[in-house]
Amino acid sequence: MKPTDIQQPEYFHKVVDCQWACPAHTPVPEYIRLIAAGRYSEAYLVNWKSNVFPGILGRTCDRPCEPACRRGRVEERNAEKPEPVAICRLKRVAADNKDDIRAFLPKAPARKNGKRVALIGAGPASLTVARDLAPLGYDVTVFDGDARAGGMIRTQIPRFRLPESVIDEEVGYILDLGVNFRAGKQIDSLKALLGENYDAIFVGSGAPRGRDLDVPGRKEAAANIHIGIDWLSSVSFGHIDKIGKRVIVLGGGNTAMDCCRSAKRLGGEDVKVIVRSGYEEMKASSWEKEDATHEGIPILNFLVPKSFKLENGKLTGMVFEKVKASYDAKGRRDLVPTGEPDQHVECDDVLVAIGQENSFPWIERDIGIEFDRWGMPLVDKVTFCSSHPQVFFGGDAAFGPKNIIWAVAHGHDAAVSIDKMLNGEDMLERPDPLTNLISQKMGIHEWSYDNQISPEQRYKVPWQDKKVTLRDIKVEVELGFDQKTGYFEAQRCLNCDVQTVFTPKLCIECDACVDICPMDCITFTENGEEADLRQRLTAPSLHPDQDLYIEDGLKTGRIMAKDEDVCLHCSLCAERCPTGAWDMQKFLLEVTYAGPDCRKPQRKAA
């Protein structure tokens, strides 16, 4: 194998699994250390810069970082299973405990740059674009059909998961940057908006249509059948405050979980979730399923809805066909009837939460925006530009339903594109991230990070008493970590951004690092092809997708191979190294956002 080029930003970025997995590439270990140090405001600002909604995401994020967390691969099986650091809930600790940070936020510039940008929809994608562009002097206008900004954050996420005050605060930070918010202004013609001579238009209108279920009885029982996301939004705005005693929620995603838990709070006594697939294959995050179960909501699996049953014109129940999973030779799943008699489930109301769709009836098909055969706009995956050079898409509107953190990532990228385009640059030339690699050595065996590995298991976030939360839909269920628990949880972080950097010409091959490494990561051996080399490591290589760090140029002609997979970043290799061939260096990667940094350097006049 060739020696690793650690100058490539991707190499060490990949070692920071959480940051690599995060669509917005938030520097997770960086803010976790700040939380451990009690520097909550700074931790919040690291987040705010990267993911725009720390308080909101700290309660609702889909947390792609957590399954990636190295802690989940190295923790001893002392608990039932190894668990990642509670990254998401630590973010909330920063948001809950910060001081007033408004002084540190960018200001609306006194002079605008004369460019006008329209953002359609006031959800997370548009608000991110607004946050990135408004401080640069763009005249940014956000349009939304609702009276208040936030989009799905405000309409679809129930208050018991996300209090209104948190939304108001974080959406407010953005609107305070001099963003024009046109509330209650639903855009019903993109053609007309294009006619208003905006320099760029960003479509962040989400996936606003809930999928319906067309089975017999649907029309007749319409009064008691509700589309999940529409119903949630009506609940959010207070238009709906009660539901029947017996409720069936159809669907296995996170919306279904929000629906059933909301129904339980609005008078539903017997609330059930009924899903076509098995429990494991459900789309909902495992913790959301657990939360629903905790509130006494049963989840019934392998039941396919057949029809709605009515009596005297009123919904009384539903009929389901029992199925089982059957897998073909290629491992594809098929749901086949078991042949057992159909199951009848009584109910007063049904909430249909079986998926969301995009819907663009307001975009004329003759204005230069091409759509594919599924009715989705053709959007460039890098620039987020549509086939119309001035129209950009992001969030769920671009590639279908995902989640808030993806919307934020799209927003940042679209903002870079808009900024480059309006400065006459090629938006396909993307800016490199800012990276920094600095030694953490303070003295002999002293590092500027806490390298002691905590043996603690993952802490559970405390919950408010069920008796209280089920009575009032506005009472938040999760109480969040207190500062002390937050500290202990933060200490579980392995500081994967503090990299082991090896300088072969200093190495005397004394084996001290090999002997001390608790994870048997390090091998000195003859070079070979990767597949062969992976067979000859000190400890077996379990995840070929995790890189080997290779350095050559040793006196004996051997190479140093380090399996990055399970490294604890404990610094013991560097502490045991007599010559300083190993050093612990903090790798900080920051995505480059819209602004002068994302453009080509301008030569200054001499």
């Binding site: 001893e76 005397i508 004394c510 084996d511 001290a512 608790p518 048997d520 400890a539 379990l542 045991r576």
Partner: protein, 351 residues
């Protein structure tokens, strides 16, 4: 030196041996030696060898004297018995312990100061008596704890860190062990665990006085140009005579070797020590030839390593003295005070 304890977390595949322990279970406290000390690698080799041989930690006694090397028993086999004796007196304490209980595995860990200077008399007699033990000298040719004076094993002409050449003849521990009848003699290098681990395993399985001289560079005081015990010098001058593939029983032999490539040395208990030859015509069972060979190669400036000598007919001190097999602490009053009739008989035999 490291202040942090080694984290308990370990590689997910870390395996347990036949007696239910992982390799990590054979470790001791965190080492307080200098970073890069060869001694730490020797500790790691002992840990590896004991794990591979499925040795129960409580069946091992570690004995040492004074010095950097003699500190190391604290850094391996944390669940074994240990005794840190007066400077240079490890061999007699080990001999006494061995006489009292032959069931334990005795591991004497010493250095060139502890064994070749203050304890040379002890070293000589423990070897001469054939005590069943693993005697490891962690040999760095320098007094590290007192900041770098030449030790008795420093080669003539080798230079100290301050550039002064040593004018005294070195004491040849391997040669002495051979002369005094050690039945298992090896030399290795702390920077070569592929050689060292099998050598330690062989010594553990050997019944008799097993002596291993391990060259172990002192990074603080003897790893400079002009030293003959530095990592670089030893790597350049290392001449291995064989590779030891220690095999526990005849049935397990699977590897194929070309004829003349291998030396097999059957042991008392039916096990076989197999050596892959690296030097042609090297016969590790011929004591006289080995001693000649070693002197020749030493004169040529080579550091000969490998399993240098092994006596297939090794015997130990208990055999010589015809001692009772049971450990002394398991003998009851009846065995210890056989009564006046027995006493009469003994007295009668002496008249």
């Amino acid at each position: 030196m490291t202040y942090l304890a080694k984290p308990k977390l370990h590689h997910p595949t870390l395996a347990k041996n036949a007696v239910g322990y992982t390799r990590r279970d054979y470790e001791g406290k965190i080492s307080t030696l200098c970073a890069g000390c060869g001694h730490d690698s020797i500790s790691a080799a002992i840990v590896q060898a004991c794990w591979e041989l499925d040795i129960e930690p409580h069946r091992v006694a570690k004995l040492s004297g004074i010095g950097c090397s003699s500190k190391t028993p604290d850094y391996f086999l944390g669940n074994s018995h240990g005794f840190n004796s007066v400077h240079g007196r490890m061999p007699s304490v080990l001999t006494g312990a061995n006489l009292a209980n032959r069931d334990l595995l005795y591991m004497g860990v010493s250095g060139d100061g502890d064994s070749a200077s203050i304890g040379i008399g002890q070293f000589v007699h423990a070897i001469r008596r054939g005590v069943n033990m693993v005697y490891i000298v962690e040999n760095n040719g320098v007094y590290g704890l007192t900041k770098g004076q030449f030790s008795a094993t420093a080669d003539k002409g080798s230079k100290s860190k301050r550039g002064i050449a040593n004018m005294d003849e070195p004491l040849d521990l391997i040669g002495m062990a051979m002369l005094l009848g050690a039945t298992y003699v090896g030399r290795s290098f702390s920077g070569d665990k592929r050689q060292l681990v099998p050598l330690v395993k062989g010594a553990i399985e050997h019944r008799g006085a097993a002596f291993i001289d391990v060259i172990s560079p002192c990074v603080a005081f003897n790893n400079h140009a002009g030293s003959t015990k530095s990592y670089e010098y030893v790597r350049q001058h290392n001449e291995a005579v064989n590779r030891l593939d220690f095999i526990e029983s005849r049935e397990e032999i699977t590897a194929e070797y070309a004829p003349g490539e291998v030396v097999e040395v059957p042991q008392h208990d039916g096990a076989i020590v197999r050596l892959r030859k690296l030097a042609a015509d090297y016969d590790p069972t011929d004591r006289i030839k080995v001693m000649n060979y070693l002197q020749q190669r030493a004169a040529a400036g080579e550091v000969v390593t490998g399993l240098l000598y092994i006596d297939p007919k090794a015997e130990d001190l208990h055999h010589h003295l015809n001692t009772v097999e049971a450990p002394l602490n398991q003998l009851g009053t009846r065995e210890l005070c056989p009564g006046s009739v027995a006493l009469e008989r003994i007295n009668a035999s002496l008249r």
